[in-house]
């Protein structure tokens, strides 16, 4: 049998993970649904967003809870490796590191997203229906309807903004998955701190690059691809990087961060010692 990947072993691992955790996962989903209902009731009672179950409430709730719950779950996946007893059990299960990583991705990325979105819409549809049973007040802008969160423009990278935002989410989630294997304790908190520190360092580098290295100017169209050097408004210079560089940069940021972090997680898992 192939020692890197075997579908039989992978299936066994997936089923075993479910058997070990189904009670915890079931309770977690119920707790999430409960919290979501409480939150929607709370925003309705406090008059947030003009009407109960308004568009903004649904959007913000979906994306905020996706990030909060998704990153927290990812940061717990390899938490067993922080305990000697659980770590020994995990590492000595006869499956390859690749199969173990793939199982983690199946649960934290794919199944989590499906279960999260399903749970969200179950509650959302229910709460919108309940909100519609109340007589409309004159202060209400419109009747609440179920919002398709995947059609909302949140961050404008390009026209597929929601897809981009979800890709950004998967990149952040991958960082938390890696954090769960890197840090033996408090991986969620430590990953957040590392993320902020890394973000701050990046900001400082960009600031240094823009303010001290580049001449006075701005980016008239597209970050990093076109730079206008201010002279007197008439004789300004336009510096343009070849289009493909911008495309490659955008591709890497969007699609390569998560797979790169998964590769790092794989090697980290392979070299893990207990």
């Amino acid at each position: 049998m192939n020692q890197f990947f075997s579908f039989t072993r992978f299936s066994l691992l997936v089923v075993k993970h479910w058997a070990d955790n189904k009670k915890r996962y079931g309770l977690s989903v119920l707790a999430f649904i409960g919290l979501l209902i409480t939150w929607f009731v709370f925003t309705g009672l406090t008059g947030f967003d003009n009407i109960p179950m308004g568009k903004a409430v649904q959007q913000i709730t979906f994306f905020f809870s996706l990030f909060a719950v998704g990153t927290f779950y990812a940061s717990q996946y390899f938490a067993d490796l922080g305990s000697r007893a659980k770590g020994i059990k995990f590492l000595l299960v006869p499956a390859s590191a690749f199969e173990k990583l793939l199982c983690s991705l199946l649960y934290t990325v794919l199944l989590f997203f499906v279960v999260f979105t399903t749970s969200f819409y179950l509650v959302d549809v229910l709460m919108v229906a309940i909100a519609n049973t109340f007589p409309a007040s004159s202060a209400w802008a419109a009747k609440p309807t179920v919002v398709n969160v995947f059609k909302i423009i949140i961050v404008k990278f390009n026209t597929d903004s929601t897809i981009n935002f979800l890709l950004f989410f998967f990149s952040v989630q991958s960082a938390f998955l890696l954090g769960s294997i890197y840090f033996e304790k408090y991986s969620f908190i430590k990953t957040i701190i590392i993320g902020f520190v890394a973000g701050f360092i990046l900001f400082c580098l960009m600031y240094f690059f823009n303010e001290l290295l580049l001449p006075n100017g701005d980016y008239p169209s597209g970050f990093f691809t076109t730079y206008r050097v201010h002279i007197d408004g008439v004789n300004d210079h336009l510096i343009q990087v070849p289009r493909w560089i911008g495309e490659v940069f955008r591709f890497l940021v969007m699609y390569a961060v998560a797979p790169f972090l998964w590769v790092v997680t794989y090697y980290r898992l392979k070299e893990k010692q207990v």
Partner: protein, 275 residues
């Protein structure tokens, strides 16, 4: 079966092994003895592939343990001192864990847990530490793994369970299997172990077959003062002096592991000269 050559291993600033050489063969039960912190558990974890040697080589069944290939992991089972079992029924545990070990024998498993008096329909969550340990030992033996590593297996077992453990382990040993037991509870395993390996300060202090030990050493009460004077190790008790002395008549006697261990730790040179 297990070949350790020039193994060096350290935890950050604390060296554990420095150039350790050792071999373990199939068909034997090895007793790994030593003081606390001498590296017994670390050695087992190096063999199981949980730790990566800094220098030297560990080979188990022809594999490098730290690569943790599934085919290697199927044939090596570690019963650690600190262990974790999921909160699921025993039947579910077998259903989901046994398929990872193709030679797993469910009948043997049922037989072992019956000897240990563990009800098959119970849930792991409701079990005591000792019951969980017995279940893990039963599972380990039923996997038919060629290399079985046990770290303090009798810790937490009651008196009856300890004798049941000895019975089961004696049954489970065959010519293809190598069992290594690290323990402080030497009395629990006295009649089971057929080779003693004592580690001290990360080095092998003593590594001999029980047969050779009992041929060359005798463990008995001192008959007179001359016995005490010539003994390799003496210990006073209420009923007289117990000694470890050279076995001059060459007849095999009974091994007292605890006395042997004390004798070797306190007087290693004199003892090892006899072998």
């Amino acid at each position: 079966m297990i070949d350790i050559q020039n193994l060096s291993f350290a935890y950050k600033k604390k060296p554990v092994f420095n150039g350790l050489n050792l071999k373990f063969e199939a068909g034997h039960v090895y007793g790994l003895l030593g003081k606390n912190g001498t590296g017994k558990s670390s050695l087992l974890r190096n063999i199981a592939g949980l730790l990566n040697p800094q220098q030297g080589q560990v080979t188990v069944n022809g594999f490098t343990p730290f690569e943790r290939l599934p085919v290697f992991l199927e044939d090596v089972f570690l019963v650690p001192e600190e262990f974790y079992l999921p909160d699921i029924p025993v039947a579910a545990f077998i259903k989901h864990y046994a398929p990872f070990y193709p030679p797993f024998n469910a009948n043997k498993f049922r037989n072992y847990i019956a000897v240990f008096k563990i009800p098959e329909d119970s849930t792991l969550q409701n079990m005591s530490y000792g019951q969980k340990k017995k279940l893990l030992i039963s599972f380990a033996l039923a996997t038919n793994a060629k290399v079985l590593l046990m770290d303090e297996p009798t810790n937490g077992l009651d008196i009856m369970s300890k004798s049941q453990f000895r019975k089961i382990l004696a049954e489970a040993l065959d010519e293809e299997r190598c069992i290594i037991i690290s323990t402080h509870q030497v009395k629990d395993l006295e009649n089971l172990i057929d080779r003693i390996t004592i580690i001290d300060e990360g080095k092998i202090l003593f590594d001999e077959n029980v047969e050779d030990i009992t041929k060359k050493l005798s463990f008995r009460f001192a008959h007179n003062d001359a016995d005490v004077a010539t003994a390799l190790y003496t210990e006073s008790s209420f009923t007289g002096n117990v000694i470890v002395a050279p076995n001059l008549d060459g007849e095999e006697g009974k091994l007292d592991l605890e006395l042997l261990y004390k004798a070797i730790v306190t007087n290693p040179d004199k003892i090892t000269k006899l072998f």
